[in-house]
């Protein structure tokens, strides 16, 4: 096998700009403009990979993304990228590529032994064996199967590159820039509509460079260059190459990937490697062209066997010659054009084999080529590289072959016709239609605002493609209410003949253990289709799943049509009757990094910070997430453990005074004449008669009667409340209130608005809390009459306005001080200064937990969405004199069943800490779980809250709290969940 570089050929390469690259460590050279595939072919290296299951040698088969065989790994470390199709890898200086799925080397691969076992490794073999007696045998076998399977290796290092995202808007998106796409763009551009023309390859023009015909007097390639130049000067036209539309989603939203820097060694500064485009299109024209179809014969996967049009592109665009002695096997006229073009480019085509008996002999116009008609290639031989083919006469009626003779060739080009690339059209849900002439499916009539144009519609000749493009443009303009283009049909002559294929499914062969591949990448042979058929997997869906045909990285681009034809033949029905499966996004594999963009790592989702965040960080706070807020958990001194810290903080509150940041609580402004009535309908307890200047603790139920949220609402005036909610439920509470007001109670005149970010909030708690605030809030009367328990008043610290509410979550005398957000840190510092005399201590969520557990107040762990008010001891708060959200379903038998779990307190007997998530056993019966635990400085014991079956009946009993995960067990005394200062005297100390 000796490929070489054709002297001064290759439209895309620059022969005086050499590039160095390595493949499996061996160094080669190519030119600027080469792809990895074209450079390897030019260096005479055809074999580049080992196949998935049988580890058969494989070479380059195509010249585009449909490549089933030549999959390689690129780069290394964090940039290692497996399973890259060699024909789409643009060469750059220093490119480092290596083969996959072969050990120890590509040429000597131990796993090639699978070919010996190939009679066993047929479709579905793994369903019939490896079962052994128990699970162990499968686990043992699976270890090896996973190593043999898979193609490339993934890196364990993080990918260093950046990925960006963009939302783009266009009136008409044209996918594909071949004859149809360019004609459509040229026709639509003058209308002023916003046109976006995208093409997946690095160059625009599609199949035009190989087109023989000329357009309006220009040679096809010149016409393309001229059209592209004109389009680039029209500002309502945007053109993007290296951009693949991979997905067609609802409402004409397209997902696409722009390869920004893949053709460079590394991206430049801040340049993304790839950019994900979400394109919002009013109209779409899909001019995605078609893919040449393989032929199915023994050894058709031998390196050196390649699609004919691909070989032509390698010669014409890259000056890469696939072989010295080339044969071409065709079932349509287009094969002849390709052969003669290759000869003209200097490729030594010696033999043409045409399966058709009767052909128009005008095609055989090169005396140096040996034209053999009515014959088929029955086998390609040579193992790692093609050395000869067997040819035999073919009787189409009996589908049988005559005597074979051998022809020595080093390259065999095959063309079985063209398959329209209908992936995107199929994704929209429009059923495909079978076109008998081209023996392939084409897009059905669009059910959405898109049209298909060109080869994708089966119009394979240049003139039809151009006309398709113009009419698609006009229909799109009309749909947009714009005048049609005045572009007349283009004069075309001398175009390539149309590829009308002669139906050829499986080519017979005399070799009993013939290997005829239908899906190269998943090693699915004709034999596998037969087995699937025999075992009843006959529908197209079953055939695909049983043989894994079309489920590899190329998603059946070159295999689907042949498989459907063979299957229909096995079932004795037509291809349209057999039908086809629906294509799924993506059309081509898409990097996860591209879909993720920059929303990863630290930026995975936004963070909410309180105004005092920096103060906390400067004072040794360890932060913790609450919803998506960050809150201080503890302020650890240098030598303290977490437990030491929270005990110190909680004790300070009990004995003197502490301050905690409560900004993260949800805050909702409720205004309007019916504000009180509204609260009375959504809270379970009464709210109509709350006095102005007073706060009230309220409980909200879900519509199904379970607890939803709790918090205090402060009446600021007759017609205004400030409601607080738990951190996690702020958004759902606001949304439920808006739903009720808009959809169910439009008669209530109430407005609700989020003011969570308007107020910084801090609780000052402890016996010295009043003395602390008294010093700096001089315009508030802190006496019992001036500011009674649950009272709310306005004041100021210096010129900073504050609201002061006498509330207590800790059970101590306490005040919540709210100030507009930007005054937060200043007010916090003033309070800290005022509290110095009383050794004021900042405390975090741990100490807050200790204090509220000692008081038996509920929080998140007790509000797990399955508890009723009665379960947590709040049953009596629910008003019986009014209806409220959830009031009816709260009475369902399951919610008032005596055997429900209710909240109790637990005291650990033997001074061992209790763990949240422990379960409480009554004997051996699991009667509930521990929700919140802490060390209680007030009781000097480890205590907890728990939800246990008929909790109130267990008061006074000793049970055991177990933590089987760490096989620990504590004996605990069950008590009322209100451990400390039951009468609430501390509030008035």
């Amino acid at each position: 096998m000796s490929g070489n570089r054709l002297k001064n050929k290759g439209l895309l390469i620059d022969q005086n700009k050499p590039l160095e690259f390595t493949f499996d460590g061996k160094s080669y050279s190519g030119f600027e403009g080469d792809t990895l595939a074209s450079a390897m072919i030019a260096n005479g290296e055809m074999m580049m990979a080992r196949s998935f299951k049988y580890h058969r040698p494989r070479g380059v088969y195509s010249a585009g993304p449909e490549e089933p065989n030549a999959l390689v790994s690129l780069r290394s470390d964090g940039r290692l990228e497996p399973n890259c199709t060699a024909p789409t890898v643009e060469l750059y200086d220093g490119l480092d590529a290596h083969s996959q799925n072969a050990w120890p080397s590509l040429s000597f691969d131990v796993m090639a032994i699978n070919q010996l076992f190939s009679p066993l490794l047929v479709a579905g073999f793994y369903y019939k064996t490896f079962m052994g007696t128990g699970q162990k045998f499968w686990h043992f076998c699976e270890h090896f199967i996973r190593r043999a399977a898979g193609m490339g290796k993934a890196s364990l290092d993080a990918d260093p590159d950046r990925y960006e995202k963009a939302n783009i808007f266009a009136d008409i998106v044209i996918i594909g820039s071949g004859p149809a796409g360019l004609a459509a763009a040229k026709a639509a551009a003058p209308s002023g509509a916003k046109i976006l023309l995208v093409d997946e390859s690095a160059q625009f023009g599609g199949s035009l460079p190989e087109e023989q015909g000329n357009i309006d007097g220009y040679d096809a390639n010149e016409w393309a260059a001229d059209t592209l130049k004109t389009l680039s000067e029209i500002d309502n036209v945007t053109m993007m190459s290296r951009t693949t539309v991979y997905g067609y989603f609802d409402d004409n939203t397209l997902g696409a990937v722009e390869k920004v820097a893949d053709h460079k060694a590394v991206p430049e500064n801040f340049e993304p490697r790839q950019r994900h485009l979400k394109i919002f299109a009013k109209r779409v024209i899909i001019a995605a062209g078609s893919i040449e179809r393989p032929l199915v014969f023994d050894g058709n996967d031998t390196p050196g066997v390649m699609l004919a049009n691909a070989a032509l592109r390698y010669a014409n665009r890259y000056g890469a010659c696939v072989g010295q002695n080339v044969a071409l096997f065709t079932n349509n006229d287009d094969g002849y054009t390709t052969a003669h073009q290759l000869k003209a480019l200097g490729v030594n085509v010696t033999t043409m084999i045409d399966a058709r008996e009767k052909i128009n002999h005008g095609l055989c116009k090169d005396s140096s080529i040996n034209y053999i008609t009515g014959h088929v290639v029955t086998s390609a031989n040579g193992g790692k590289s093609l050395s000869s083919i067997k040819v035999a006469p073919y009787d189409a009626d009996t589908k049988s072959i005559g005597p074979q003779n051998t022809i020595n060739v080093d390259a065999l080009l095959v063309t079985g016709g063209y398959t329209p690339t209908i992936n995107l059209c199929s994704q929209t849900g429009t059923p495909a239609i079978f076109n008998d002439e081209i023996q392939s499916f084409i897009p059905g009539r669009a059910n959405r605002p898109w049209l298909a144009a060109g080869a994708i519609m089966g119009s394979f000749d240049l003139k039809a493609s151009l006309e398709d493009g113009i009419s698609a443009a006009n229909e799109s303009l009309e749909a947009l209410g714009l005048p049609p283009s005045n572009m007349t049909a283009l004069k075309v002559n001398g175009q390539n003949p149309v590829a009308i294929p002669f139906a050829l499914t499986v080519i017979p062969s005399s070799n009993k253990s013939a290997k005829k591949f239908v899906d190269f990448q998943h090693d699915v042979s004709v034999n596998d289709l037969n087995i699937a058929h025999t075992e009843g997997f006959r529908s197209v869906e079953h055939l695909k799943r049983y043989t894994t045909l079309g489920m590899a990285a190329d998603q059946g681009k070159t295999s689907n049509m042949n498989a459907l034809a063979i299957m229909a033949e096995l079932r004795g029905i037509s291809i349209p009757e057999a039908g086809t499966t629906r294509f799924r996004a993506p059309y081509k594999p898409v990097a996860l990094g591209t879909l993720a963009g920059r929303d990863i790592g630290n930026h995975f989702s936004a963070v909410r910070r309180t105004p005092m965040h920096n103060w906390h960080m400067d004072h040794g706070a360890e932060m913790i997430e609450a919803g998506i807020w960050y809150r201080p958990r503890v302020y650890k001194k240098s030598d303290e453990t977490l437990t030491d810290a929270y005990i110190r903080e909680a004790t300070a509150v009990r004995n003197s005074v502490g301050i905690v940041d409560v900004t993260s609580l949800g805050k909702i402004d409720i205004q309007g004449p019916d504000a009180a009535e509204f609260l009375n309908r959504i809270y379970a307890n009464a709210f109509l008669k709350v006095a102005v200047g007073k706060a009230r603790y309220g409980v909200m139920l879900r519509e199904d009667g379970y607890m939803f949220d709790d918090g205090t609402s402060w009446r600021l005036s007759e017609t205004q409340f400030l409601m607080t909610t738990t951190t996690a439920n702020a958004a759902p509470v606001l949304s439920q209130m808006e739903r009720l007001l808009t959809l169910n109670w439009p008669d209530l005149k109430v407005h609700v608005s989020s003011v969570s970010d308007q107020w910084a909030g801090m609780a000052v708690a402890g016996p010295k809390s009043r003395d602390t605030l008294n010093k700096i809030i001089t315009d508030v009367d802190f006496s019992e009459d001036g500011l009674p328990f649950m009272g709310v008043t306005d004041g100021s610290i210096g010129d900073m306005p504050v609201k002061v509410a006498r509330l207590s979550f800790s059970g101590e005398r306490a005040y919540e001080v709210y100030t507009p957000t930007h005054f937060g840190t200043a007010v916090w510092k003033e309070i800290m200064k005022a509290g110095e005399a009383f050794d004021i201590t900042p405390y975090g969520t741990e100490a807050l937990g200790t204090l509220r557990i000692e008081k038996g107040h509920i929080s998140g762990p007790e509000l797990d969405g399955r508890t009723s008010m009665a379960d947590v001891g709040l049953g009596k708060m629910a008003s019986s004199k009014k209806q409220y959200v959830g009031s009816s379903l709260k009475e369902r038998s399951g919610l008032i069943d005596q055997s429900r779990q209710t909240m109790v307190g637990l005291i650990s007997h033997d001074h061992k800490p209790l763990k949240a998530g422990s379960h409480v056993l009554n004997g051996t019966e699991n009667i509930g779980h521990v929700t919140s635990t802490t060390y209680s400085p007030a009781l000097e014991k480890f205590i907890a809250l728990a939800l246990i079956k008929q909790g109130h009946t267990q008061i006074g009993n000793t049970l055991s709290a177990t933590f089987p995960l760490k096989n620990e067990r504590n004996s605990v005394l069950v008590v009322e969940p209100h451990f400390y200062d039951k009468e609430g005297e501390r509030l008035y100390v």
């Binding site: 993304p272 979400k278 989702s605 936004a606 963070v607 007759e718 608005s753 308007q758 005054f823």
Partner: protein, 174 residues
Amino acid sequence: MSDQLSIKEVRYQSMVLIKSWPDSAQKTDAILAAFLGIDALPVVGDFISQNDIYFAVISPGHFMMFSNNELLCSEISKLFSADIASVVDISHSRCGISLNGKNSDNLLNKGIAINLTDDDLPGMSVLQSSIHSIGIIMFKLQHDDYLIFSYSSFFDSFYAWVIDSAEEYGYALT
């Protein structure tokens, strides 16, 4: 508009929401028009800016004003009785940036799926949306010239997103 993408933090002394009801819409509109000294309020999705007061119509009966005049909120709340409209002081709940210059549209379109070209979103338009799941309100003054506010607690995350998105184009912090 300068060809350099520039980003500047901005803060206004007062910001206020005004919400009326259908039966008090006429009255509210009239009071606001009088206060602003104009004969008719802008339509939904538009805003006006005159003598340092920005006035925007978010949706029917839902208005937003901001200004560096500290007393704006108290002045406005004196204009309305409780049954006509509600006035909510949100002066501290929003932090903003001014984003202008070349590539402003491209930067925003990294996070917003809304057509920002002039014919789809003319100058003096206001819209609410979200970037990186952060709620924002955006005022388009003219082509490539925006005022964008996020909620205060989200501002660090929002600002980091804007800067990271600007890296590719190069930017100036003014």
